[in-house]
């Protein structure tokens, strides 16, 4: 392993990673995951090789998720059993996901991998993101009409999943308040891991799956996602550390910021309703989706499917794509801060403090 894998750090790069870590941590504390999608490109922009960026990112993810999960466990929001079971299965999904990526790279090169990532990206973010956002909107309308929090209702699919009895596979989960067959949990956990290996945020499948397929409330699903992220992050770190590609300096700088952030995100969840958690998640997913539009012309040009585009233009478009990712994280972070301030003010007024 050459030392060139580990870049020289300066004050600018330390500060940049600290700030991105902070906002990423805040979003993770609130919706269970996030931040990773900005951190890897951010590190690569600073000159960190791709593999070290991924490895160092994942090495900050597991301690961050651990701190967040413990904090939200105190608030009674974590389903440890569901998190651990899904986490272990997600670990397997992540390994297979990595294999798939390597396989595609061997067959079709880097552009093939980029296109595969883009397709998964667009399908998951467009379909799931729009669905989550629509559900948040529906809940807001309900709350506006009723003047109170919309009660948690399991979806029709979740009610069906809970009604299926397969002897020998039934497990009771406190977050769902029902028994669910492990046979339903396995594909969901697996898909969470596969997505984590592909677009770095498994939670965009894990959380909606726990809400809409299993019937868990959004606040519990996002808190439980932190346990899944911890298990996946720990496994991933061990794998990358065995290859000697974890830059512990980078990981700990990001952790320094993200632990400040994750506390805010976790505290924020105690002041909001399920609908707001869904809104933040849906917003981030849909904004992230737009980042792909800026990358695709570059891939198509490289593949010769459209007239060649100048390298400088491709670089400029990529920068716009990265900026859109930062925007997604920023909008998420800002919404959380606003909700927290609003919630705290209302709470203190109600308490007469």
């Amino acid at each position: 392993m050459e030392s060139s894998l580990f870049i020289d750090l300066n004050l600018y790069s330390i500060l940049a990673l600290f700030v991105v870590g902070f906002v990423g941590g805040m979003v993770s504390g609130f919706i269970g995951s996030g931040g990773a999608f900005v951190l890897t490109p951010a590190m690569m922009t600073l000159g960190v090789p791709g593999i070290v960026a991924v490895a160092s990112n994942i090495c900050h993810k597991f301690p961050k998720s651990l701190v967040g999960a413990m904090k939200r466990h105190k608030y009674g929001q974590v389903d440890v059993k569901l998190g651990l079971i899904m986490g272990v299965i997600a670990e397997a999904g992540m390994l297979i996901g990595k294999q798939v990526m390597t396989g595609i790279k061997h067959l079709y090169g880097d552009v093939g991998t980029s296109l595969y990532v883009s397709v998964v990206f667009v399908i998951v973010l467009a379909v799931v993101g729009t669905f989550v956002l629509r559900d948040a909107y529906r809940m807001f309308q309900q709350e506006k009409a009723a003047g109170a929090e919309a009660p948690h209702e399991a979806s029709r699919l979740a009610r069906w999943v809970q009604s299926v009895r397969i002897p020998g596979t039934m497990v009771y989960f406190p977050s769902i308040k029902a028994q669910v067959s492990l046979l339903f949990i396995v594909p969901l956990g697996f898909a969470t891991g596969m997505l984590a290996a592909t677009i770095a945020v498994g939670g965009f499948i894990g959380v909606p799956a726990m809400i809409y397929v299993l019937g868990a409330p959004a606040l519990m699903a996002t808190a439980t996602e932190l346990v899944i992220a911890f298990v996946m992050g720990l496994g991933g770190t061990v794998l990358y550390a065995l290859d000697g590609v974890v830059d512990i300096r980078l990981a700990m700088i990001i952790l320094a910021g993200s632990l400040f952030g994750i506390q805010i995100g976790a505290i924020g969840t105690t002041y909001v309703k399920d609908s707001l958690v869904k809104l933040v998640m849906g917003l981030i997913m849909v904004i992230m989706l737009f980042s792909r539009f800026f990358y695709v012309p570059g891939y198509l040009s490289t593949l010769g499917l459209i007239a060649p585009i100048q390298d400088s233009t491709i670089g400029y478009l990529k920068l716009l794509g990265d900026a859109t990712l930062v925007l997604a994280l920023g909008v998420g972070g800002l919404t959380i801060i606003l909700a927290l301030i609003k919630g705290m003010v209302a709470y203190r007024l109600a308490q007469g403090v």
């Binding site: 009674g76 948690h152 409330p217 000697g244 700990m252 506390q263 805010i264 969840t269």
Partner: protein
Amino acid sequence: MSHPKKPITATLFYGIASLLLYTLLFLNADLFIEWAERTKDHKSLFLIPVVVAFVFSYFHGAFTSYFWEILGLRAAKSGGKH
């Protein structure tokens, strides 16, 4: 949350411990890089980043929690709604 007492001592303790850990890490950054590079031949060295991450998360995690608490950022009573 009705506990007005601010945990100043705990914040200071974990804050100093956290600062100390970061100082140690960066003063010995070359050593950590060397260990990472040697992991290929000495597999057991993979434990170093894992242990470092756990230790940092314990001290820095406690510090950041107390830090926001003394600034008045606290969870709503009894926490989550579910």
